[in-house]
């Protein structure tokens, strides 16, 4: 635990973190990039989730939908994580003390886990059923859960701004 704290304060005390904290433009700029990236992650993953639920893109197989959409999702996710890390190190201690921030990170991990479980276990025999409009229950569950988790991520993200004074 002590090592983690040292590790975090090393970044929090870096010149980069100092710049983000003190500069009037840098923080809003990174924050805006974070919002753009999060919007793309949530919006694009919703396309896949709605296909899993059988509510949209039903004339395309699941793998064609994912191979078409997920490259955008992953690119946006990379930007969201990078910008998020930069915002985090500017005030790491305060963020770690904020319940909504901690919840947000847990929810993102849960969303990742949901996806991993779906791909690893439920989607083993994917070619057999992926062309159907109504997918098997585990697939629909994964889609519904993904929507709930990502909406919760956005809720927590917005609430961080109301429960934590950064500047």
């Amino acid at each position: 635990m002590q090592q983690l704290q040292d590790f975090i304060s090393y970044f929090e005390n870096s010149g980069l973190a100092d710049n983000i904290r003190e500069n009037d433009v840098l923080f809003p700029l990174i924050e805006s990039m974070h919002v753009v990236a999060i919007c793309l992650v949530v919006g694009s993953i919703l396309v896949v989730d709605l296909r899993l639920l059988g509510l949209a893109s039903i004339h395309r197989s699941l793998s064609r939908v994912t191979s078409g959409i997920l490259p955008l999702t992953w690119s946006a996710f990379a930007v969201a994580v990078t910008s998020g890390l930069l915002l985090f190190i500017s005030n790491a201690t305060k963020y770690l003390g904020n319940g909504y921030f901690v919840a947000k990170i847990c929810l993102i991990c849960a969303a990742g886990l949901n996806m991993a479980i779906f791909h690893g276990i439920s989607a083993k025999d994917l070619p057999r059923w992926e062309n159907e409009t109504l997918l098997p229950l585990p697939a629909r569950l994964a889609g519904g859960l993904s929507i709930l988790l990502w909406v919760s991520v956005v809720i927590c993200g917005r609430w961080i701004g109301f429960t934590m004074r950064v500047q």
Partner: protein, 168 residues
Amino acid sequence: MNDSGLSEFCKWLAATPLSHTIQSAGWIIPTLQTIHILSVAVVFSSAILVDLRIWRLLERDVPLPEIARRFLPTIWPVLLILLLTGSLLIVGEPRRSLLNSTFYLKMALLAVAIMLTAGLQRSISSSSIFWDKDRWRRMAGQFAATVSILVWCSILFAGRWIAYTQAG
């Protein structure tokens, strides 16, 4: 309306019962903002997906008209949710946006984005090869898609910036 008139209007709006209700409970504004940002995610992603398809960066195996039919119609009803939540946010905190030039910039950019998106939707549905007829059309399509991406991104930036430029 001159500046002091606008200021009076904000004062009047902030004194309405609806504004009082929105201000009185601490959870209402964050909730409205969350619904607003989730709707932004849907509208923004729909527009960007079509723009990226025009650039042939994703879903190349699907014809452009099909992509446009899949994603663009969603934008219009969700814009109504944005209008509603946005209006309620203005009623709750009139000075935050109405006395803020960033807000007007955002609205101007939104007008451009709406016209561009409606134009793209109409042109694609009028002819399936509208943006594919020849080299010039393809370049024009890519130009329109680039402007669309830039304008939509600017709207999101301006939206975030309202919080940093609000009048005291």
